[in-house]
Amino acid sequence: MLDDASQLITWVLVGIGWFLVNRQNDLREARKELRSKITELCKLVSDIEADATTFYARAGNAAEAVSDRGKITHKLSLLGVGVSQITPRHHPILGALVTFRQSITGDAFDEEARASLRYNNPTLDSVRAAAEMLVDQLESAFCVRYAQTAKLAEEYPNTK
């Protein structure tokens, strides 16, 4: 009788252990997947920023402009779908993405005759600022979800 009970307890403990380990593995995998997705999206943001800077900084011919516009718009669309997959509706990241798209594809984007803009032009500044804001939002969303208070406290010892 006592043997049966101890066997049962052993199996229950094994079951609980398996469940906990499995759950931890799932969480770790989900975290890795999200991390790699965010890294991928941040790289896309930086690609689009570079393309937009090139687009505005050089006065190319009309055919080049059409092709460049198409590439930028397509990459923005991929970024939008990627961000939407990991973000709930009305999340601030979507607002940052809208600002990023507006900074690149506003009215100046459609102009046939493009003058090359200087590096410190307000249009380029706003593209850079919007890109930074979007990357910050993506990174901070990851931190909020997976922040380990102890780790953060180690990293920023003077913050209380």
């Binding site: 718009t73 397509h74 939008g80 979507l94 594809t105 009215d107």
Partner: protein
Amino acid sequence: VDFTAQTNWSKFVIVNTVIISVADDFSRYPAGRSRTHGPNSGERFREELLWPNLSNPLNSVTVKLDGTRGYNSSFLDEAFAGLLREHPMLSNDLEQRLVLIGKDASIVEEIWGYIREQKARGKNR
């Protein structure tokens, strides 16, 4: 109390739902604000597809945004907020009669942002 006197019945009586797929019914490459920017502009989308369907107060319009190569902000502003600029009578019930569907939630959010901004501008005039 006469409730009917203050009721906007178009909010409640929608007879037809028209589905517009931007990619299938307009173009896979929507771009530009006005017709001078090209054949697939926001102005043409608004005047040839959105307005003819929304001008009937009994219609509700569902716009499918997927399938295109992407959107630029000027296209979205002209096509959707432009509706309220050019046809201010829609400002009463556009939000009840327009449905936007797309995988990219930021596009949907951007369009509603333009519509709300334009509505606020119209009220402040």
